[in-house]
Subunit: 243 residues, 2 copies
DNA sequence: GTGCTCTTGTGAACGCCGTTAACTACACCG
DNA sequence: CGGTGTAGTTAACGGCGTTCACAAGAGCAC
């Protein structure tokens, strides 16, 4: 298959070790502990050697983000496989709960990926910002595609969408269609209008808001148990989008 | 008034300078740039001197958070004064827009105050976590109080609230009542039920989610202009809570 | 096999950081 | 005046990202 020289295999292996160590430092001690020197120390090499693999600490962190995101996607996909193909609402609930569970279990990673100020100018290197969210977004959107393919109507009519948003939302809709058909589900444009894209956006806003508030402890009052709160929000959310 | 010795006045002045410098470093170069050495450098003193005022860098950051929060509250209150006393919905809109504007203009401060993992054990020192959000929460809740006092019904009936949430929400409701009556508005418990508190919580979730997503650039698609998106969300939000 | 090149690593160094400790200068108080 | 406490100093420790010059060795052409 991959006819790689020994050098290339060695390099790839070392790279894996680096990211693995970085990851475990992140999980155990937070983003501030992801230190070139610490990583090198754990690997039994010296810090400057890492520069053979990443151009800077920030570069390494960027790749770490991608890893984290991919793992989240895998975890969500895993939880999904236990459900019946036809249980679309259940799949939506499972993905949402999985996202929350992951965020609470890995607040450091959550902060790194979903709550770090986006570098302003960075939009050209498609790999980073775009690809990262693809690996997570894809699973999310695939579930959405299944729901839509089942003919379950998402409530908001297209004409309710403010005109200024139509252009952006149309792009979003097209991307959704692409992702969904790629995953093997057949879906016509009539089933996925701009209004639907708008509702999905709102869905994401509320889910993200709830999870982020919980992770950051920014509810306006002390919450004794956040899980029922989340479940209640999720129930409302599913109802509001008409599932 | 405040009969302070010269020493005390000097100390207070230096403290103000420290926080001011810390603040401008935060604004200009982000949280990572808020460095004891950098602050001291700008003030023409040496770094260890700062330990006469704060026990550690983290301690200073904590007070910085409070400052930031107080300024946000002041800014929101300022924007409010231009409106007619009776325009309650307008006040709500103004506060929401002000919050977004502030968050976008000060992403570093926003991150520091609203999107930093809450230190797990820290709940005893009421001054920090609690007082901080008070200074901001008060303005938010005062507006809510005015709306409620005007007899505008918030839609959710109490009996729709899941039972497990009632206890927490009741505490929230009581705190709301206290804050509101403190600000001079007379309000009976019949106008502020648990259902109302629940709706206000949802309001906060959606507002926070939208703003945080915008600040962190985590919308699921490229947004050419986020302001109409925010306005649209705000319209929906105000409609959904029945204003 | 010999020699060349390119890759991967090392060690030393620079300048930053938070923090501690010992010490100085000086304002305040009796 | 002398004593006390405060606000500042300097020096130092260990850790950080990063750069640079250099060594060891794999891979390859001849």
């Amino acid at each position: 298959m991959t006819q790689a020289t020994r050098r290339e295999r060695d390099r790839a292996a070392t790279d894996r070790e680096i990211r693995q160590q970085a990851r475990s430092l992140l999980v155990d001690d937070g983003p501030a502990a992801v230190t070139l020197r610490a990583i090198a120390r754990e690997l039994g090499i010296t810090a400057p050697a890492l520069y053979r693999y990443y151009s800077s600490r920030e570069d390494l962190i960027e790749h770490l983000r991608a890893d984290v995101c991919a793992d989240l996607a895998a975890e969500l996909a895993g939880g999904l496989s236990a459900l019946a193909e036809t249980d679309h609402v259940g799949q939506v609930l499972t993905v949402c709960r999985g996202f929350r569970r992951w965020a609470l279990a890995h607040p450091q990673e959550f902060t790194l990926v979903f709550a770090s100020p986006s570098p302003p100018g960075v939009h050209c290197p498609v790999s980073a910002q775009e690809q990262v969210r693809d690996s997570f977004g894809r699973i999310f959107l695939t579930v959405a595609g299944r729901v839509l393919a089942n003919g379950l109507p998402i409530t908001r009519p297209d004409h309710d969408v403010p005109e200024v948003l139509v252009a952006d939302l149309t792009h979003f809709r097209d991307e959704l269609l692409l992702t969904i058909t790629e995953s093997g589900v057949d879906l016509g444009a009539d089933q996925l209008g701009v209004g639907t894209a708008y509702v999905m956006l709102q869905f994401w806003v509320r889910l993200y808001g709830q999870v982020a508030l919980e992770v950051f402890g920014q509810f306006p009052f002390p919450v004794s148990d956040a899980e029922p709160l989340f479940e209640s929000m999720l129930t409302d959310l599913v109802r509001d989008v008409g599932l």
